[in-house]
């Protein structure tokens, strides 16, 4: 069974990556599976300086999902390169660094350092800093900013694929997808979390100290599938599907609508061996469906004829 995927030049043994912020630095999950069976590991978002993130509480459970407002708590670029990366089995499994910054210069600096690291196979750029564009709209919601970030990162990372991670909290995801492509992104990943909120009717308080947070998990899978469907039609670079992936069948659903690979996020909390199990269940499921590879299956969604629309 051939589960391998070529993601913008990056060879993955299978399409099952882990989603940033849900798999730590990979090392936390070593007791639960062999990291080398994964298609790739996207590590927690990294900023130039260490960040404490938002105040507690910053998690809430919701029906078939969860909200988080962690706020990119991370040890910073230097500590990652010094303490985490060397301990990861990056020769056996591609490690993708997730970049978080609030200015083009910071993004460029992060990209310069990380792309020079042998252990980093690709970069994923998280464009959702809420306070970079003074005008009001957040970074990842403004196509011009998305394009500018892609350009800034790509300028410092010619040697490795750059993946831009898009927010679903926009009127038109296709416009954002094209902006990233125009900026030189080699791939897209989507979706990041859906903006949501939860409150406690008794204490009269928001369940997150930050009031709003990002919704993830099975609840958002329909939104993610729709966004991927729209994005693959808008661009010619590969797309990685993220949002609610919990089992091997979910992987195939994203590939069916046109994704090259997927990322497993919240499912890692449902059981810490989720990503490993999904990667190992995939070949059997493919066999059951009579597939011998993913190439022919990708994007093979049968759309109704024009007569049936609207």
């Amino acid at each position: 069974m051939d589960t391998s995927v070529n993601l913008a030049g990056l060879r993955l043994k299978n399409p099952v990556l882990t989603a940033s912020g849900t798999f730590g630095f990979g090392l936390e999950f070593e007791p639960y599976g062999d990291l080398a069976v994964l298609g790739g590991i996207v590590v927690k978002g990294l900023s130039l300086e260490p960040r404490q993130g938002n105040p507690m509480p910053r998690l809430a459970e919701t029906p078939c999902g969860m909200l988080n407002s962690i706020g990119i708590q991370n040890p910073g670029l230097e500590a990652f390169v010094r303490d985490k990366l060397p301990r990861l089995p990056w020769r056996e499994v591609p490690v993708i660094a997730n970049l978080y910054a609030c200015s083009l210069d910071e993004f460029a600096e992060l990209a310069g350092v990380l792309s020079a690291e042998q252990g980093v196979a690709a970069l994923e750029v998280n464009v959702s800093c809420p306070n970079v564009s003074r005008g009001g709209a957040a970074f990842g919601q403004d196509p011009a900013q998305i394009r500018a970030v892609a350009e800034a990162v790509k300028a410092r990372c010619a040697n490795k694929p750059v993946m831009v991670k898009l927010s679903p909290n926009v009127t038109d995801i296709a416009v954002c997808a094209r902006a990233a492509e125009d900026g030189g992104a080699d791939a897209l990943s989507l979706i990041n979390t859906v903006l949501g909120m939860a409150v406690d009717a008794r204490t009269r308080r928001p369940r997150l100290a930050n009031v709003v947070g990002g919704l993830s998990g099975p609840a958002v899978k329909p939104v993610a599938l729709r966004c991927v469907h729209q994005a693959v039609r808008a661009v010619s670079i590969p797309v990685v599907g993220v949002g609610g992936v919990c089992c091997a069948e979910d992987v195939l659903e994203f590939i069916l609508v046109g994704a090259h690979a997927v990322q497993v996020g919240t499912a890692n909390f449902m059981r810490p061996d989720a990503a490993f199990a999904i990667a190992s269940d995939l070949p059997g499921l493919m066999r059951g469906l009579g597939l011998d590879g993913l190439e022919g299956y990708r994007g093979s969604l049968i759309l109704p004829g024009p007569g049936r629309g609207g």
Binding site: M56, Q73, R271
Partner: protein, 265 residues
């Protein structure tokens, strides 16, 4: 324990506790023991029944109350969506268990040990006392709001020197705090103090430990909302002494009193 720490096991029994006083609230859940290589009292497990499907996405953390002869026990109070469903489990139901997680309590077999437990915070001390090489050196102070039948206190008081204070009304809180402070003051300065209970209870213990210069002999087992239990989601952070965030699940749940700040912010 590589590749070995997440297992589907069967429910053996769900034993109601103190039913005549608080019906449907306190339980002992007995599960098949996963093939653990080793564990320490004070460590915890994440439990997620397969019947939760996709609706409740997180496991729930519970202290190991015992893990012996093929049986893993946790004691729990049914409070919210997850724990109420745990109470409805039946023998044979499948539960996902990952653990043992966290660090566990210190053991100093040659010294006196003072245990300070509030409410369900007594649970990990059942394991601690059972596993301790010299239980006669242990003194247990227990503060509780619900009837004694809801907790394993009678059992433990047969094994160690035990005393308890019941908080029948909010006014009793001052009594509990005074008794707690007195226990700590009377305690052998060279021993260990181990505390587990609600955050305000632990706050009192921490303040007193600092007052008495016992912070380096006092451990607190903290509770935070948890999603992963393995240090990855960063949802269970508390502030360390320097104001940095540390995960309760992977760096705790047991901390030396001087190493963490309690209360949020």
């Amino acid at each position: 324990m590589r590749h070995g720490a997440c297992r589907e096991v069967k429910v053996l029994e769900v034993v109601p506790l103190g039913q005549s006083k608080r019906p449907g609230e306190f339980f002992e859940l007995r599960l098949e023991l996963p093939d653990w290589e080793a564990w320490r009292p004070g460590q915890f497990v994440m439990l997620r029944p397969l019947s939760w499907g996709l609706e409740l996405v997180w496991g729930r953390p519970f202290s190991i109350a015992s893990a012996d002869r093929g049986v893993l026990c946790v004691l729990f109070q049914a409070l919210g969506r997850g724990t109420r469903r745990l109470a409805g489990l039946r023998p044979g139901d499948q539960v996902l268990v990952w653990g043992p997680l966290g660090n566990g309590f210190a053991v100093d077999p040659g010294k006196r040990t003072l245990i300070l437990a509030g409410g369900m915070g007594l649970a990990p001390f059942r394991a601690y006392v059972e596993r301790h090489p010299a239980p006669d050196l242990i003194r247990l102070f227990f503060a509780h709001r619900f009837p004694l039948e809801c907790y394993p206190f009678d059992y433990l008081s047969g094994l160690v020197d035990a005393v308890r204070v019941e908080e029948r009304s909010p006014g009793d809180l001052a009594l509990v705090i005074d008794a707690l402070r007195a226990e700590m003051a009377a305690f052998d300065q060279r021993g260990l103090i181990l505390a587990c209970g609600p955050t305000p209870f632990l706050g009192t213990v921490r303040d007193r430990a600092l007052e008495l210069g016992l912070a380096e002999r006092t451990q607190l087992s903290l509770e935070e909302r948890m999603a992963c239990g393995v240090g990855a989601c960063l949802g269970c952070a508390v502030k360390d002494a320097g104001g940095g965030n540390v995960q309760v699940c992977s760096r705790g749940p047991v901390f030396w009193a001087g190493d963490v700040q309690l209360g949020r912010g």
